[in-house]
């Protein structure tokens, strides 16, 4: 059975994470992806992170199921090759700084002359205009501007901190992959091609808002306030490690009290209803910490499990692949990359009954498929050799 996006061709001009990760999700679902990279260095993510055999781990995860060709857009011939690719493509994805594609002669207005049905997707840091539009945007910058860093402030001293993974880049990737799929669906139903733009800033605001900004949503007077979310999201120390625990419903709260061996807490009027617990969350977490501190993580987990309380052990990152549930679900796969060697990565997330996603090919070396793609386009070996000699391709 083919993947859900089988038959779709995507040209991926994007770099680093936001674009490549968006496209990787679509590639996993069966889209035919040609990644177009610049000569010599290629995608920036080829040069940072742990590596072996010239393959970095981050590139290997985000560019599986893609073919790589190298085109030097400083050369007009490379642009012509690109226009020819566009004529047969469904989607173009790019995350250069605003205006860069237009300046290279590769903007939407030009490309739709070659393919009126093209879906042209631009991912930027801060949007096309405005005071920050030209700024270099890395994840940490967007986290700081959009509230992630403030929300991550240490509970005890209020000093802001960053989320220590590139959450804004990745949120933008997921948002973009959905938007691209929605545009494909609309086109299938008659909407034609179109330009889709999103900024990391907007995607990050939308992601943070529901819970992160729940005390900054309602404006004006007469508002019932709410405990800040940071007091909900704290791990609890055990005698030898950490667990996390959360209880919203009365039933879950009773289960937690039983799990920590304090059944009487369940009838304490301070914590009786959800709104009591929300009002007294900090002292409730304190009770929890007191009870957990005496027990080992294994003991805590066994008790919580028996009581059917929402809890988990905090797993160290080097132990993730040994977690019994992760193993049982086959959530992680091990592949042997021809250059990078053995590696471990998550499988495609959504499990489709009829249109399964799959890891069909490993992430390419730079320009690995230049010849292959150009041959498919009908260029002869001599023509390809000439393009290579003149530095148009690599």
């Amino acid at each position: 059975m083919a993947g859900a996006l089988n038959g779709i061709r995507i040209l991926d001009l994007s770099n680093v994470v936001s674009g490549p990760m968006a496209v990787q999700i679509l590639a996993d679902q069966g889209a035919d992806v040609i990644k177009i990279e610049q000569p010599k260095s290629g995608d920036v993510s080829r040069s940072f992170g742990e590596s072996r055999g010239g393959m970095t781990s981050i590139f290997a995860v985000l560019n599986r199921n893609k073919r790589s060709i190298v085109l030097d857009f400083k050369n007009e011939k490379a642009k012509n090759i690109f226009y020819q690719l566009v004529a047969d493509a469904d989607v173009v994805v790019q995350n250069f700084r605003p205006g860069a594609m237009d300046r290279m002669g590769l903007g939407y207005e030009v490309l739709k002359q070659h393919q009126p049905d093209i879906i042209f997707v631009s991912i930027s840091g801060y949007g096309d205009d405005g005071p920050y539009a030209e700024r270099r945007a890395y994840d940490a910058m967007v986290q700081s501007a959009t509230g992630y860093a403030d929300l991550q402030a240490k509970a005890n001293n209020g000093v802001p901190d960053l989320v220590k993974n590139i959450v804004c880049d990745k949120v933008s990737a997921l948002t973009a992959s959905q938007a691209i799929t929605a545009a494909l669906l609309a086109r299938e139903r008659g909407a034609g091609g179109q330009e889709v733009k999103l900024s990391m800033m907007d995607a990050s605001l939308s992601f943070l808002w529901p819970d992160g900004m729940w005390n900054n949503t309602l404006l004006g007077e007469g508002i019932r306030k709410m405990t800040p979310i940071l007091s909900f999201l704290q791990p609890t120390k055990t005698a030898d490690g950490y667990v996390t625990c959360a209880a919203l419903s009365d039933e879950e709260w009773r289960a937690v009290c039983e799990g920590i061996g304090q059944p009487k807490l369940a009838t304490n009027p301070k914590y009786l209803t959800l709104s009591d617990r929300l009002d007294n969350w900090c002292s409730m977490m304190g009770e929890l910490a007191d009870a957990c501190g005496e027990l080992t993580t294994a003991e805590m987990c066994a008790r919580m499990e028996a009581a059917d309380a929402p809890f988990a052990k905090v797993t160290a990152i080097e132990d993730l692949h040994e977690d019994p549930q992760i193993q049982q679900q086959n959530s992680l796969v091990e592949i042997d990359h021809p250059s990078g060697g053995p590696m471990r990565m998550p499988r495609p997330v959504a499990q489709f009954e009829k249109t399964p996603s799959a890891i069909r090919r490993p992430s390419p070396m730079l320009g690995e498929h230049t010849n292959n793609v150009l041959s498919e386009m009908g260029l002869s070996d001599t023509q390809i050799a000439e393009l290579r000699d003149t530095g148009v391709i690599e």
């Binding site: 072996r52 967007v142 959905q178 330009e195 625990c245 929402p310 060697g341």
Partner: protein
Amino acid sequence: MAGALEGVHIIDLSNVVSGPMAVQMLADQGADVIKVEQPKTGDISRMSGQERGGITAMFAVLNRNKRSIALNLSEAEGREILFDLVRDADVIVQNYRPGTMDRMGIGYAVLCKINPDLIFASISGFGDDGPYANRRVYDPVIQGVTGFAACQAAPHGGEPELIRNIVCDKATALTAAQAITAALFARERGASGQYIEIAMVDSGLAFLWPDGMWNHTLTGEGIRPMPALSEAYRITRTTDGYVTYFCVSDSEWQGMCRAIEKPELGTDPRFVTILDRIGRLAEIGEILDEAVSQWSTNDICARLDAEEVPYARVNALDEVHNDPQIRHRGSITEVVHSKAGTMRMPKPPARFGETPSEIRFEAPTLGQHTDEILLELGRSSDQIGNYHATGVVD
């Protein structure tokens, strides 16, 4: 112009965040969504968070553009009404614990007989089976299991910490929204309806992996090492606030050195190449923190801006909507809810050229559209009166 998902009918049986947020994205894109809630209490997020006039902030953000019917699915007549809804639907989304829908007699096996083209999206914490499958799950539980909490620890043996927003719930929501859209696309091209399983544990792993696990992707020997992202991620105190910066390339590094009036550092042999700097992240961090802390936030931001160093001011939560770029882009909108009053929320982040997303109507009160939807299903006023009297609907 209509949204990209105009004409798609979705039944949303889900609660809290993972399901409702997935569906909200599709609703913003024009899907017609009927939210089926249990009588009396409804979605649990109706009770959590800042509230006014019976509407919580989080519910208002995640359930805009949906209609609500309060339906008692433990009554046979309630299930009949659901079956009637399913006959006309394209998608059903649920996030009960595994097996719950089957036990209620409304599982996929039953519903796909009623409508073979139905896309049935099932979101769970840990997947349908395995040792944790029946555990109760909230976001901190998944953050604990999938490495988010471990990654958030300070470098070199710090204590684990949680990300203070419900990142795993929301990453699952984005993943599910894309998967549902992909299944709709595949169906448009001839695939039938299908079952899609999305586990939070898998969504969390896939989201964290590219960067969070970049030192745990390659297995075996011969690996060129790399510091964890947490070693490079820092917030720096100014005389009156906080900034963050991230200089990767040589030109960014030299710009940074000029900005802090230490141009000699830019040619210091200890820090010449990216690899030199990566090897001395802690040392560089201390030097830069010391220098940056001499300036006010405004002053250092102006200096970093002039030198094109990637930087950002750290906005407090109540400053985010006032950020000049966010204002300029109109990323955040103020809406007036008829019950809850004025509120602020982000606009749909992906901006489609031809099929615009929009906030069309406000989040419903519990059962606000029960009668309207029953009339659409052809029920008479008498029947509807009876349903109310016998507690089938609310």
